[in-house]
């Protein structure tokens, strides 16, 4: 054992490797991404690591490995589990041989997600055991337990940290390498009565699952990370129950105070009923402090009914705790003060600070997406057009002045939404924008749908040759794998032509005139057609010399700023100026200036 300062996601990867992990795969998504990245970084060759094309592919791959007796882990964010839910629901019935952990990072807030869905609820729905760590250390310790339970009960298990655990750092006690478990997979043993799902098998499996989950309610009541702490306050008939990072906020709020009886739930499903009953015994009132769904609150309310206990269960359902957004130290301290009738010191009215500048996220200086959106905007000027966006950096194309994202729903949705709009509004020119990684993850079926069903639309692929939003992961179009191999790139153009898109044009969006002409020409064609805007992510390339403004020619019309909204162009002392620390010399503004006052290439 030794101490290291680790991010929660790194601790999960390291804990899994210490537990004898053989294979890890997943799809990038905040806040889960660093788990797989850490595994790849510390891999000494014995572990197979891959970014799969999407979460469904990853979960199926992980299942195959676990069928062989391997210990496998599949990583994703919470909305990724929606994509993987088809194999998940069936795999729950089939089960596994080797330990299989499905790591799903939830995002209360949400800070960088479309939904505030709770994987603990997904666990109950899929009937799969679920582990919910409260800290970086607990994440490290519990991931090994998750593998052990998975193997013992032949079932995949869910492991669901939230953002603050995933992205928190702490000094943690970790195993030395000679303490690591080694798992040698037996290999796939053919048995169609086990691995081939049929209604009869599912019926039998369903009965086994229900019996197992009753057993796990008892087993988890003894689990070391489900903790009942007796009251410090004498005669107090109140209790507080919590989970995940919120449990540490409870500890923080009660430090040095007369705490009531406390319960921490680290296995929300199957719910540790025996332990919960022991907690409820003799209490009048319980406050449930949870993030996302009131999972524990519902379980306790149910238990009180089942056992005729006269205990008031309070929380989100009783509006004592807010039912959306993330908890904080302050919100939890206020909830507890209300519940226990404590007076919190009232904040003294402070002098109002001066108005603070807002810093909304924007497309980077030199981002090729800005050029792509601008080219389409120029080409469609005055026309009735709709621009369906998707998930990625390019969602930021919605901001002013570009204002080029009319819809955004979930990965790959834009390509189908634009078809739906086109069927109802045939006079609208329909566009769908999708990034290269999102194209491979979930837009190909949409393209096939469009071709087959005779849609009228233009698919715009914003190909920056990386998965930029989540920190530049490789994908099928990049020709690199997480095992360090250089492989053949999958061509987006060839895929589109292969599924029947007849017109596919590739153009550099930073060549503005050519890009605008291409959009005009392609959009005017009938049927399904595609434009691939190809230019690398500005963060990944060595910047060119910054652009230069000729003060003689610049009239301060600010057209460059008003049209492009590039952070590399600023106003200093009333004058339009290039911010040298940000400008990448992409040259887009030089093509927008009506007075040819901006130039690149170090010339004036």
């Amino acid at each position: 054992m030794h101490q290291e300062f680790l991010m929660g996601n790194a601790a999960i990867a390291r804990g899994a490797i210490a537990a004898g992990l053989n294979l890890v795969c997943g799809y990038p998504g905040t806040p889960s991404t660093e788990v797989l990245e850490t595994a790849a970084k510390v891999n000494q060759g014995s572990l197979y690591v891959e970014w799969s094309v999407n979460e469904k592919a990853a979960l199926e791959l992980g299942a195959g490995a676990a069928y062989c007796g391997a210990r496998s882990m599949v990583t994703m964010k919470q909305v990724g589990l929606n994509v993987a839910s088809d194999p998940l629901m069936s795999l729950a019935y089939i089960g596994v041989k080797g330990g299989m952990v499905i790591l799903v990072a939830d995002d209360p807030g949400p800070i960088s997600s479309q939904t505030e869905q709770d994987t603990r609820s997904f666990a109950a729905y899929s009937k799969l055991p679920c582990f919910d760590p409260s800290s970086v250390q607990e994440a490290y310790d519990m991931i090994g337990d998750a593998f052990a339970y998975s193997e013992k009960y032949h079932t995949p298990v869910l492991f669901r940290p939230t953002t603050r655990v995933c992205h928190g750092y702490a000094s943690v006690t970790v195993k030395d390498e000679d303490e690591y478990a080694v798992n040698k997979p037996e290999g796939f043993v053919k048995d169609s009565s086990k691995w081939v799902i049929f209604p009869r098998l599912s019926y039998q499996a369903h009965m086994i699952i229900e019996a197992r989950n009753v057993e796990l309610q008892h087993v988890f009541s003894q689990y070391a990370h489900n903790v009942l702490t007796p009251a410090k306050a004498a005669g107090c008939r109140k209790g507080i129950v919590s989970h995940g990072i919120s449990e540490t906020y409870v500890q923080e709020a009660l430090a040095g105070k007369d705490a009531p009886r406390l319960l921490k739930i680290a296995t929300p499903f199957p719910f540790p009923e025996d332990l919960a009953l022991e907690f409820l015994q003799g209490l009048d009132e319980v406050l449930c402090i949870e993030e996302l769904d009131p999972v524990i609150e519902r379980e306790l309310t149910y238990l009180c009914g089942k056992h005729h206990l006269n205990v008031n269960i309070r929380g989100k359902l009783t509006h004592d705790v807010k039912n959306a957004g993330e908890n904080t130290c302050a919100s939890v301290a206020a909830n507890i003060a209300d519940f226990l009738g404590w007076d919190l010191p009232k904040p003294e009215p402070a002098d109002a600070p001066p108005a603070l500048p807002v810093r909304p996220p924007v497309l980077c200086a030199g981002c090729p997406h800005r050029a792509s959106f601008y080219a389409v905007k120029q080409a469609m000027k005055g026309k009735k057009a709709v621009f369906c966006g998707d998930i990625g950096c390019y969602t930021l194309g919605n901001a002013m002045p570009l204002d080029m994202v009319d819809t955004c729903l979930c990965m790959g949705a834009g390509v189908n939404i634009t078809q739906g709009i086109g069927k109802i509004e045939p006079d609208t020119t329909c566009f769908a924008f999708v990034g290269d990684s999102t194209f491979f993850a979930s837009a190909i079926t949409g393209a096939v749908n469009a071709v087959y069903n005779q849609a009228e639309m233009t698919l715009v692929v914003l190909d920056n040759s990386t998965t930029a939003m989540t920190g530049h992961q490789p994908h099928p179009g990049t020709g690199r794998t997480m095992m360090g191999q250089v492989v053949d790139k999958v061509s987006i153009e060839a895929v589109l032509k292969g599924v029947g898109v007849k017109t596919v044009e590739t153009v550099n969006p930073l060549h503005l005139e050519e890009a605008v002409e291409t959009v005009k020409r392609v959009a005017a064609e009938p049927g399904v057609k595609a434009i691939i805007f190809k230019s690398p992510c500005a963060v990944l390339i060595k910047p060119e010399q910054p652009a230069v403004i000729d003060p003689e020619k610049c009239t301060q019309c600010k057209r460059c700023i008003k049209q492009l909204g590039c952070p590399g162009i600023v106003v200093q002392e009333g004058k339009v100026t290039i911010e040298h620390s940000l400008c990448t010399g992409c040259g887009l503004c030089t093509q927008v200036c009506p007075f040819h006052a901006i130039s690149t290439g170090g010339t004036n």
């Binding site: 130290c329 500048p357 810093r359």
Partner: protein, 190 residues
Amino acid sequence: MQTNILICGVGGQGIVLTSKLIAATAMANKIPVMSAETIGMAQKGGSVFSFLRLGDDLHCPMFPEKSADIIIGFEPAEAVRMLPYLKEGGSMVLNTHPIMPVTAALSGSDYTGREMVQYLEQHVQHLMTVDGDAACRALGSPKVLNMIMLGLAIRQNVIPFSIDEIEATMKATVKPQFVELNSKALRYEA
């Protein structure tokens, strides 16, 4: 004994590395440490913060308002934004050089940072200011702002390490050719 440190500024100022150096120094001194910071979208010019806690009996990496022993403010408006976290009588080290929001040119904002510095002068008991831009120019590199800020923060005698201890961690972290420059920055006198 716990020390709560809050570092704040704008993406790209080297805040995360500053936080890592303090944490690594704590580890070297066998002091338990936890931290939490903004990750992701921040690289696109957003507000960035890092909460750091050193000491025993740590529960969570984020601490409540009025709990920071010191705020290391890399940007005036960001320091004002996070001021509610400073405890009564806490210290602040402030870079007075403002960073315009990337949208300022578009919205016609007249933010200069001066009103922020004035507000902090009125509301922070132990305030140490430095013009980070001028300091970087004096040292000949725009990349040493974080070391200048860290060095000044250590000299407030709130963080339980010496400059030498921080320097030792820095030497193990940065490329050899940058050690001398960073050492100078750590010892920069405002």
